[in-house]
Symmetry: C2
């Protein structure tokens, strides 16, 4: 199938998905779990073949061992596959947002307006390696009534196809009750060749949103090559700022967590900003803990001087961890145990640094001063602004969303960790009795609008839930 | 100033706007109204010079007379200027959305998460002719805490500059109280040369959203030439479908309104779909009324036959209004007294036609059958789906939003007529006590998340309103 045929089939499936009930979606999810259990051996065998081929590439130096590791679908004791099956249940349990009324208004007698949550439509998800993404995204798309086109990495082609075949078989064999819309099989499609990606990115006529899951370079490539809205983030350049009144213990704990708990994550802190008043006190304690954890500090002149005068770098092994920062260190995502350090003279200077060089992802202030904290939270232009907490909390599961489609650094639609809401939008239903717009206005025989809000009690809120 | 300087100045203003209170915004709006009143003669004189120059262009055949008409800021009795001043008050009265909490959750003791409404940031508004847009958009931007860059048509340059100067003077001379952020003068900037538009469309680093107000070709140009999200619509191809059980009186009234009340509007109906069962009954009554109103019908074979067999086109003057439709008539925005007519054999065929050829703006079904109406509303992929009402109701004022930024046919962010909400997004505030992400999880010494919703009573909802 060409990219256009895939996209058009997804659009047609999307149209059918508009009249699928919550119960049907739930039945499909349960059936998917069942088929994935039944076909486990088959899927694991496809995965073994993918891994076998990938191993050769690793040995030849063409593939990284971390990517190889992510390819595995079973885990050493099969626990990854169990988690994958469990994930289907987890998605099934999330509340279904579709059909909910979020605004209701009586415009006039017999003329009412309802804003109703609906699926965005067709989602294109582009990801690398991890084949379990196929299952996760397919389930999220089904739950939110979206059609999904999944484009995985070529290393996982056999696994992805086996998973997609299982999902499509589950959809096809879920029973349809009398009067129900048949769940469309093309609700989930998997494409694998590299060529199709460019073609799909041009399908803005059929595709409503692109969700990239992968490296910065993948996301940047997508952002630069499509007119379709992209939900995601290219860079995660998070900063933590130690304010004048930062508590040393809180500073040490949050910064060590933010830098070392998972350095490759987008919500890891990459830049430490330090108020000049605490560079010889709080900062030294933080630096000592970071160096102990093996973090390489790229320090500006003033923080370097403080490290030296505190005698932190006397041990040669530690000294090798400390280097002088260059301009390129700021606004850079290391995704490793590296941290850029800069001393600032005021809260506003820290904010200006973040707004100029950050990536609008997540930034934290460590302070005992509520006024400064709130000023920082208002003025920093980022999806997450934290007071005395690690930037690593920026995550849909930690936020309690039950799932995460991605973390968005956009300023429109969805911002920050996006749950299922990121895959929904709304439309306006109007119920009339034959009115025309010219019936309303000023003058003889014209009517005025009432514009009365209809209270969103449960009956109204769920009026259009299927 | 270069496009980059303008965009960067707007970004800096946007940063400052984050700590401006509602009262300050209100004071600026009141001052704007005052200055616009005081400078009325000056602004009207600038407008006279613009009109004088434009008149020569009209006489030379380089400018349309409708564009010339839209250039006027006074109206014959000064009523347009009065409306403009009134509009400032109207915006002032809209509820301020900024700082409202829309979600609050206790993640743990001393670890809380708040989703707080904030401005999108920097808006670029590109419009043609109508200089009153400068005032309207400037006020909406101020009210929603956004920085605005306004790019008007060259015909209105003097008027736009005079209005912008008045607004900036009003901002500069609004008193700032002790402890308040000074309202940034660059919150509203007007640029006028044609060259700047391309430069500004490249400023995705500084500009968060583009709002085009003008012709299809303007909007299409913008959509094709920027990576910045665009809030608006290029085409308004709205359809009305006469179902099998359509009531004739409702059909006549809504269709005549939808086609004739303002044919140039984007929410006018361009296509009439007719169920085969009513082509010789309800449709004939509708056609008769439309022809009487001077509407040119571009009819497909079956509707044409019905018109002929009903004898509607016996009068040669009326006959000239009826032509055979070509494929190009469907999915075409006439913006005039033209209507494409097509007969379909089922509700689903009507829906398929709309989903394939419509522009996702607003579509209506005329029927007495609630089941068919709801099926249509769910299945039609459009911002507005109406039952027994004219498509012309798709408008922010008619919806009761108090204002309209634009009508969006996007599937993300804002859909349909967008009020002030279209200029807002949210960010997550997290309040901690020094926690790290590794404090949570499974195992000894690890804590679990509480994820308890904090009820949104007025205190919580307004916690961060300034």
């Amino acid at each position: 199938m060409t990219a256009e045929q895939v996209a058009r089939a997804a659009r047609e499936a999307s149209n059918m998905l508009q009249t699928i009930s919550s119960a049907q979606k739930s039945a499909v999810l349960r059936r998917i779990k069942q088929v994935l259990s039944e076909r486990r051996a088959e899927i694991v065998e496809a995965n073994r073949l993918d891994k076998e081929a990938a191993k050769k590439e690793v040995d030849a130096g063409n593939l990284s061992s971390s990517l190889f590791k992510r390819l595995d679908i079973e885990g050493s004791g099969g626990e990854k596959y169990t988690t994958l099956l469990q994930g289907v249940d987890d998605v099934d349990r999330i509340a279904d947002p579709i059909g909910q009324v979020t605004m209701a208004r009586k415009l006039d007698d017999n003329l009412s307006l309802y804003r109703v949550v609906c699926p965005v439509g067709v989602c294109l998800v582009i990801f690398e390696a991890r084949p379990e993404v196929v299952v996760n995204i397919a389930c999220l798309a089904i739950k939110s009534g979206n059609a999904a086109i999944l484009k995985g990495g070529k290393e996982a082609t056999r696994t992805n196809q086996a998973l997609a075949a299982a999902i499509q078989y589950a959809i096809a064999t879920t029973e349809t009750q009398e009067g129900q819309t048949k769940f469309p099989e093309k609700a989930v499609q998997v494409v694998s060749t590299r060529d199709e990606i460019n073609g799909l990115l041009e399908m803005d006529r059929y595709v409503d949103i692109v969700i990239p899951r992968g490296s910065n370079s993948l996301v940047n490539f997508i952002k630069n090559n499509t007119r379709i809205p992209v939900l995601g983030h290219a860079d995660g350049i998070c900063s933590t700022y130690l304010d004048e009144s930062a508590d040393a213990a809180k500073a040490v704990h949050t910064v060590v967590d933010a830098k070392t708990s998972y350095p490759a994550a987008c919500n890891s802190t990459e830049t430490l900003l330090v108020h000049g008043a605490v560079v010889d006190s709080v900062f030294i304690e933080v630096a000592r803990a970071l160096l102990k954890a093996g973090v390489r500090l790229h320090a500006d002149e003033r923080s370097l001087a403080a490290i030296e005068s505190a005698g932190l770098a006397q041990d040669p092994a530690v000294a090798s961890l400390v280097t002088r920062a260059t301009d390129a260190d700021f606004g850079h995502e290391y995704t490793d145990l590296d941290l850029a350090v800069r001393v600032v003279d005021s809260l506003d200077q820290a904010i200006d640094h973040i707004n100029a060089l950050g990536s609008k992802h997540t930034d934290a202030i460590i302070t005992e001063d509520r006024k400064n904290a709130e000023w920082f939270m208002r003025r920093v232009d980022a999806a997450g602004v934290y007071w005395n907490a690690s930037t690593r909390f920026a995550d849909g599961f930690r936020y309690g969303f039950g799932t995460e489609i991605g973390v968005s650094t956009n300023k429109t639609h969805a911002r920050g960790p996006a749950g299922l809401e990121g895959l929904t939008i709304y439309k306006y239903y109007m119920f009339g009795a034959g009115q025309g717009s010219t019936d309303y206005g000023v003058g003889e025989g014209k009517r005025g609008f009432l514009h009365e809000d209809i209270p969103l009690d449960d009956g109204v809120r769920n009026k259009f839930v299927l």
